[in-house]
């Protein structure tokens, strides 16, 4: 077994060397049984790889949960691997240092499983780069029997097709239970003396929720659309249904959470209130793929908060969910939590809540002296367009909320919108400015003594990216030129001292749209891009659209085919063989309702029959 030690002279030259040394409080170290012993035969090494730098990866709750869950097993040691920043990667490649785990400094090659979480499409090139830096063949087809199994999970795994040639197997859904089953299977296979890779994969394919891409053949029509994705082995099912954890209270939670030595993006205890979302906003992939909604009880959460702050020493606790105002236990939870934590001088960080008098009072209580910023996400500038996307925010609600906020001492807010939503016209774009001006006018009606600081209104627009498994998965993304024209128009309308307008770069959103609904032919594009030095594509100062377009052209692929095409409902998508519970028929109904500008009730107002009842639990059966 090798241990990698980065020479001091390299650590002294790179940015934030602490990224590469580990040694954090609550990091797990286990003793590896000596080779040749029966214990060694059964022992499994799992490398959890997050395809971005330490500070970003350590903020990911999924890593923190699965690290804890896997390490609860006596037969498994789960360690962490993050993408080295470019300065460290250059040094590693120059000196022949392979990518290694933080806990034991073991090279990636020596693990049984190398698992990647796919949180955003623009991280795909980093995944390939990390596999390569680990000295493992990038393509599944090129791996030998003694290479690790390279696997993946996470939200982008649902349409993993652009990366299908690089993963031995993919986990659909939540990993807590299915990873345990996979490790049980692998442990037994190892004890029995192993065997050829495909033999293990064939057994793994039988575990519900596990997708083995090499067990499927993809054929294409003349026009480039997918003709079929069909199993080529009996062990592979025609469709793979995702796995979920029904009882979140029983699910693992890292009370002894890792405490990073560096400052990370989400540097706090996290409390996962629930998974899924009842709202059904039509653009939101997370809201659909994490259905049905399953909540944790306020008692469990309170226990977790107290245990985790004691074991970590974090100075802040944050609430995590897709729509915290919809958590049925919010009042009960916060009633106790604010007092519990205040006694320990631990801050309760509240995410964006629906702004009403209840939550304003809560925010006052939680943040004491400083008022944390208010955020709203109307997403669209007119009621018509908000109805199209099924985002139930009424203008009256927004104005009432702003009035309450201003009277309560807040002097502004951040409002999130998207540009390029289906059916959007310039009138809708102008609606964003109209809302901002209405808020400005409202501010001027607030009594002077409550306006202690100038108004500070932030408007932020991002570019709509159509995602698979949403009602908008058939929609074209707006062209980059069209987007820029809208951004410019809005910019001109928002010229005011009190308003700051931030907009997102169109290049990255465009490539994200290509990958999000991509097929296997993009694998060669990604591989070539990485060979030519593309990395950290989610970082706007590293992303090079021209480089990617060049490679696509060389491969005879048209990015507009993936991003800008309006797709017919009956077209076979590259992800048809994956089942997230929510049915295609429901998405078609929602798409048609969107076109008609009709809204759909949320799960608690009235079941819309999306199909998530197939899991037999959660909000569907409340």
């Amino acid at each position: 077994m090798t241990t990698i030690e980065i020479p001091r002279r390299i650590l002294r030259k790179v940015e934030k060397p602490a990224r590469y040394v580990g040694g954090e409080r609550n990091a797990v170290t286990k003793s590896v049984p000596p080779p040749g012993t029966p214990e060694a035969q059964a022992f499994q090494r799992f490398a959890f790889c997050f395809p971005d730098i330490y500070e970003i990866g350590m903020s990911h709750p999924g890593l923190r949960i699965l690290y804890h869950v896997l390490n609860q097993r006596a037969d498994t040691w789960c360690e962490r691997v993050f993408a080295p920043w470019t300065d460290m990667e250059d040094a590693m490649r120059r000196e022949g240092i392979p990518l290694f785990s933080l806990e034991s400094k073991t090279p990636l090659r020596e693990f049984d499983f190398v698992g990647f979480t796919l949180q955003y499409e623009l991280s795909f090139p980093n995944v390939l780069n990390m596999i390569d830096l680990g000295g493992i063949p990038v393509r599944t087809a090129d791996r030998a029997d003694d290479d690790p199994f390279v696997i993946a999970g996470g939200p982008c795994a649902y349409n993993v097709e652009p990366m299908a040639d690089f993963f031995d197997l993919v986990v659909m859904g939540e990993g807590e239970e299915v990873l345990g089953e996979l490790l049980d299977l692998h442990g037994a296979w190892k004890k029995a003396g192993k065997g050829p890779r495909t033999e293990f994969l064939a057994r793994a394919a039988r575990i519900p929720g596990i997708y083995v891409p090499s067990f499927y053949e993809v054929s294409y029509n003349e026009d480039g659309t997918v003709a079929s994705v069909a199993p080529n082995r009996p062990e592979a099912s025609a469709r793979v249904l995702k796995r979920i954890v029904l009882d979140l209270d029983a699910a693992g939670y890292p009370e002894d959470d890792l405490v990073p030595n560096l400052e990370t993006v989400h540097d706090r205890v996290f409390l996962e209130l629930f998974r899924g979302c009842i709202r059904g906003c039509r653009f939101c992939q997370a809201g659909y793929i994490y259905r049905p909604v399953r909540e944790r009880s306020p008692e469990s959460l309170r226990k977790q908060a107290l245990a985790a702050t004691a074991a970590t020493g974090y100075e802040e606790v944050g609430l995590l969910s897709l729509s915290t105002s919809d958590y049925t236990g919010l009042a009960e939870l916060t009633a106790h939590l604010v007092d519990d934590l205040d006694g320990q001088r631990v801050n309760l960080s509240l995410p964006s809540l629906r702004v009403d008098s209840v939550s304003l009072e809560l925010m006052e209580k939680a943040s004491k002296v400083r008022k944390s910023g208010l955020t709203f996400a109307p997403e669209a500038g007119t009621q018509r367009l908000r109805d199209v996307v099924n985002k139930g925010v009424e203008e009256g609600d927004l104005m009432r909320s702003m009035k309450l906020a201003f009277e309560g001492g807040w002097n502004g807010a951040k409002l999130y919108f998207m540009l390029g939503l289906p059916t959007e016209t310039m009138e809708d774009v102008e609606g964003i400015a109209a809302l901002a001006h209405q808020i400005e006018a409202l501010w001027r009606t607030i009594p002077r003594e409550l306006r202690l600081r100038p108004l500070d209104l932030n408007i932020s627009t991002s570019m709509f990216v159509p995602k698979p498994f949403t009602a908008f998965q058939w929609e074209p993304q707006e062209s980059m030129d069209g987007m820029r024209a809208k951004q410019q128009h809005l910019r001109n309308l928002l010229r005011s001292k009190a308003i700051r307008y931030q907009w997102h770069d169109t290049h990255q959103s465009f490539f994200e749209a290509v990958l999000a609904r991509g097929d296997r032919r993009l694998g060669a594009v990604l591989e070539e891009g990485v060979k030519r030095g593309r990395r950290f594509d989610s970082w706007d100062d590293h992303f090079r659209l021209d480089a990617w377009l060049g490679i696509m052209a060389e491969q005879g692929l048209d990015p507009a085919f993936y991003a800008n095409r309006k797709r017919p409902y009956d077209e076979t998508t590259p992800w048809d063989h994956i089942d997230v519970g929510v049915e295609r028929d429901f998405l078609v109904r929602e798409s048609r309702a969107a076109e008609a500008g009709e809204t759909t009730t949320n799960c608690r107002e009235g079941c819309a029959g999306c199909g998530a009842t197939v899991f037999g639990g959660g909000v569907c059966f409340e």
Binding site: R8, R9, L11, R12, P17, A18, R25, V259, G313, R345
Partner: protein, 223 residues
């Protein structure tokens, strides 16, 4: 800090924690303090945090053999309890060597530091000492945020001796008024004593002690 309730602790750092910048090290200590459950004094204001002062910041990549920091408590605690609870929960590589209640009054810990001793270890590092000119300036380029400037190491160097061919011991000016960074001393050996650059870049750097100056001008170890 409230007199009589400040715990002055000697600590060492090696391993992973040696790669932390000063602010990150402070955060590590803050969270460790919170985990101990000891009665801490907190700052006022938006985000209260434990109160602590370090005698002299530790640069990235520098080990500490015996550094000093003050931690403000909110109640009377026996030093042994402080040492025990901290060592039970500090991350690997950080250790409290001893503690005592800090004396009341007097100058701050930071103002008290005048000198620091280092042991630098690496191939040929000790042997290079004999090749250093016995007198005269020792200019070295110091890279800063706005570019590099020339620093004369000589006046900041108090004592220098080889321990063996591959190690040296140095006593240098340290603190907020004048401070010699050990990497500049190594660079002086590269520029003026023929030490290979790689050996300097790779050298183990250990700060062994901090010193203040007594009323009679004598050198006193900070503890």
């Amino acid at each position: 800090m409230t007199p009589g309730r400040t715990m002055r602790a000697r600590f060492s750092r090696t391993g992973a924690t040696s790669w932390l910048a000063h602010l990150d090290l402070m955060r590590v200590f803050e969270r460790t303090l919170r985990r101990t459950g000891l009665p801490l004094a907190f700052t006022q204001g938006f985000s209260p945090h434990p109160v602590m002062t370090f005698a002299l910041p530790l640069g990235v990549g520098i080990d500490a053999g015996d550094d000093v920091a003050d931690f403000a408590l909110d109640a009377d605690i026996a030093p042994e309890e402080f040492v025990g609870k901290m060592n039970a929960t500090l991350p690997a590589g950080l250790r409290i060597l001893g503690a005592r209640i800090a004396p009341e009054g007097g100058e701050s810990l930071m103002a008290a530091v005048h000198e620091a001793s280092y042991v630098l270890r690496g191939p040929g590092v000790g042997a290079a000492v004999a090749r250093l000119p016995a007198a005269g300036p020792l200019p070295v380029a110091k890279k800063g945020k706005e570019g590099s400037k020339i620093v004369d190491v000589r006046p900041l160097l108090v004592e220098l001796a080889a321990k063996d061919d591959d190690a040296l011991e140095a006593l240098v000016k340290a603190g907020s008024r004048e401070n010699l960074r050990p990497d500049l001393l190594l660079q002086a050996l590269v520029d003026h004593a023929g030490l290979p650059q790689d050996a300097a870049d790779d050298a183990e750097t250990l700060r062994t002690a901090l010193y203040t100056t007594g009323p009679d001008g004598a050198r006193i170890r900070l503890a």
